[in-house]
């Protein structure tokens, strides 16, 4: 029996972390993530959560402390946004490459300069290759669910990789939505206690983090890549088990009104909920338009994605990030490259918008669909299109 409560995204994260009974929390405050460490500190202060709360002096130290805690077999949690994620960048590679299964919630935020505390995905895209499992959330129920799931799959002995859960800053972190909270017994059934078999312990001395000379580094990295890709099976199994216990099933690539669609929008994060309203309208007027929600970002669900778009004419990819001087927005470039080897592949049109908290409205998505189909048909000299920018944008050329 679950309880239905009203929670902002930040507090949904905190509830999941509490129910996961974490051992160590190390986190440094940054807008829009602050409500998460504040709520967790409160829980620890009131004895609702038995954990060590380390009020670290920076994000670099937050991630390093989580790495230390994970090295001794403790369940560790961290949370940050934008600049904080950038500051801990080098530690992210360490956590994944040393196979420490820790979990971090990221309230996505644009990157300075100019300073912005508002939502976009530049922070996420800057760390996409760090070897972390990464998922994007659409609403606060998913925020709770993905956080619990993250512990379950990351700690699985067949996985042992850290997991990032992305929720858009403010639009999810600060917005109250109804969330079903499960019973603790159900959570305990889904999430066993962490048994990290490489934990540092004087009874069985181990060396973690010896350096890699050229005659071994490549093998170490390829082994990591193989293990990382292989972990996808466990991620899917984790979602299946999650659904069996809690009744909500998740997939790496989620289809919305995609049946017989000729045009599919592709999104990550909370904007998908706005875009779905437009898809509904178009479907009502008989247009074959649908949506793909790309939940699992790493490891990239190549097979599932190709399968989902094989009969489609046009894909319209919406990026909330610029890859300066790149061949398109980061998601768009990846998808183009992912589809290149298909026998029959759709046209791919890229849009960039919603930067630094800029609203993307229903009207904007109407434009995205119309203009996207036009570009697919007639082509364009611009490498990507922009949404909601004041003034005429020309010159995004190759």
């Amino acid at each position: 029996m679950s309880r239905r409560v009203a929670l902002e995204g930040s507090h949904a994260v905190a509830e999941a972390v509490r129910m996961a009974n974490v051992d160590v929390i190390a986190s440094y405050p940054i807008t829009p993530q602050t409500h998460i460490p504040e709520r967790l500190a409160e829980m620890v202060a009131n004895g609702e959560l038995d954990a060590e709360y380390i009020p670290v002096e920076s994000e670099h130290s937050a991630m390093s402390a989580c790495v230390g805690a994970a090295a001794v077999g403790a369940r560790a949690f961290n949370t940050t946004s934008g600049q904080g994620l950038e500051l801990m960048h080098e530690v992210l590679y360490v956590a994944s490459s040393m196979r420490y299964p820790t979990v971090m919630a990221i309230c996505n935020r644009g990157l300075s300069a100019p300073l912005s505390v508002w939502a976009d995905h530049s922070d996420a895209m800057a760390v996409r290759d760090t070897g972390w499992i990464q998922v994007f959330c659409q609403n606060n129920q998913e925020v709770f669910d993905m956080t619990l799931w993250a512990f379950r799959v990351g700690e699985d002995p067949r996985v042992l990789f850290p997991v990032m859960v992305y929720l858009d800053g403010f639009t999810l972190s600060h917005v109250i939505e109804p969330v079903n909270l499960p019973q603790q017994e159900e959570v305990d059934r889904f999430l066993p206690k962490l048994q990290y078999r490489f934990a540092l312990n004087p009874d069985n001395p181990m060396t973690h983090g010896a350096f890699g000379p050229p005659d071994i580094y490549t093998e170490a990295k390829i082994a990591q890549e193989v293990a990382f890709r292989k972990s996808k099976e466990v991620l899917l199994q984790g979602w299946k088990e999650f659904g069996d216990i809690f009744g909500r099933y998740y997939y790496p690539v989620e289809l919305y009104k995609a049946e017989n669609a000729k045009t599919l929008l592709v999104l990550q994060g909370s904007l998908s909920e706005t875009a779905k309203l437009v898809v509904d309208k178009r479907r009502e007027s008989g247009e074959p338009v649908g949506l793909i929600y790309l939940r699992l970002w790493r490891p990239f669900p190549l097979h599932e994605f190709r399968q989902a778009v094989k009969d489609v004419d046009t894909l319209i990819i919406f990026d909330r990030c610029i890859s300066f001087g790149g061949p398109g927005g980061p998601v768009c470039s990846e998808i183009r490259s992912a589809l290149y080897d298909m026998e029959r592949r759709p046209k791919v049109v890229g849009f960039v918008g919603g930067l630094g908290g800029r609203d993307v409205s229903v009207g904007d998505f109407e434009h995205v669909i119309d203009r996207g189909r036009e570009v697919a048909k007639k082509g364009s000299e611009e490498i990507f299109e922009t949404v909601g920018v004041r003034g005429e944008v020309v010159g995004i050329r190759g």
Binding site: D23, S61, A65, A69, T207
Partner: protein, 311 residues
């Protein structure tokens, strides 16, 4: 491993080696001498976190390791934070009954660069938060691992590759950062200096630092034949001269109380320490004089503290 001790006067020294032979440290390295003694003192109930530097690269090329105790290395500047996480993790696991309650020493180790420059923030945070850990700084007075670049621990007048002596330069133009005083300014329960030329003093301090509840900091001067340019058979001698000239006094600050461990009635001239080292080869007499004056002044300040806040 059966535990046996050798008796040196009133000191008992473990015969076991926790840092295995076969490592890649240089001939005459002061750092590895200190490290070996430190490990003997700490014993096997320990978890060590180490920064990038000579210490880490010389002890662990994959797929081998010299460490017979639990040991982790991740990055250059984060040992303070990492050992915080280790201590907190073990504390939580023991409190929650996930692992048995027991006494394990949590020890962070880094070079002067990893401690006084890039790692200072993480270390300050860890000390300020009061984690129960021992931190050891291997001070060889430069970034040796990357090829003798200057650090804030490099002494005035020494030539390094990024502060070289030249036609219009004396080499390092700044005075060595006083890291023990920085640690002490955190109101740390225990801070001390040590040097492998004084092995029992070093071991006693490590023992004390490990047993104290809360953070403890020991700053260990490690003469480096390669970086300081002296013959590798002089390591112990150079360390002694650093102490005997007052350039590197051996002292402790225990809960704010100062104690000089070696207090010679008369200090040797700093020239005796400086002359055998190639890194000072270029120094003119007037610069030597300047260093002597500075040492006199600093030593007098330390003595005044010892007198005012005696242990």
């Amino acid at each position: 491993m059966a535990q046996e001790f050798i008796k040196f006067g009133k000191n008992l020294v473990d015969t076991r080696e926790f840092l295995a032979p076969g490592h890649n440290f240089c001939l005459g390295c002061g750092e590895v001498l200190a490290m070996r003694l430190v490990c003997k003192t700490l014993g096997e109930k320990v978890i060590i976190a180490m920064a990038t530097g000579c210490d880490e690269v010389s002890s662990t090329p994959l797929p081998v390791t010299s460490w017979r105790v639990p040991w982790v290395h991740t990055l250059f500047e984060n040992v303070g934070a990492e050992i915080s996480g280790i201590e907190a993790g073990m504390k939580a696991l023991m409190r929650k009954g996930r692992i048995p309650q027991r006494d394990i020493k949590f020890v962070g180790m880094a070079g002067d660069g990893g401690t006084m420059d890039i790692g200072l923030q993480a270390l300050s945070g860890a000390i300020e938060r009061g984690h129960n850990f021992l931190y050891l700084c291997w001070d060889n007075e430069a970034y040796m691992n990357t090829g003798i670049q200057r650090s804030s621990g490099t002494p005035y007048g020494a030539s390094t590759t990024t502060a070289p002596a030249g036609k219009i330069s004396v080499g390092q133009r700044t005075w060595k950062k006083n890291m023990v005083e920085i640690a002490a300014a955190h109101n740390i329960p225990y801070a001390a200096t040590a040097c492998p030329s004084y092995p029992f003093d070093l071991m006693n301090k490590v023992k004390k630092g490990a047993e104290i509840e809360g953070p403890a900091y020991i700053h260990i001067l490690c003469p480096c034949p390669v970086g300081w340019r002296f013959p590798s058979n002089l390591t112990i001698e150079i360390g002694r001269l650093a102490v005997e000239t007052g350039i590197f006094p051996l002292y402790e600050v225990e809960n704010g109380r100062y104690k000089l461990n070696i207090d010679r009635p008369k200090l040797k001239p700093v020239e005796e320490y400086i002359k055998p080292q190639g890194r000072y080869r270029h120094l003119p007499q007037e610069e030597l004089q300047k260093i002597q004056e500075r040492v006199n002044e600093e030593y007098a300040k330390l003595k005044a503290k010892v007198a005012a806040f005696a242990a």
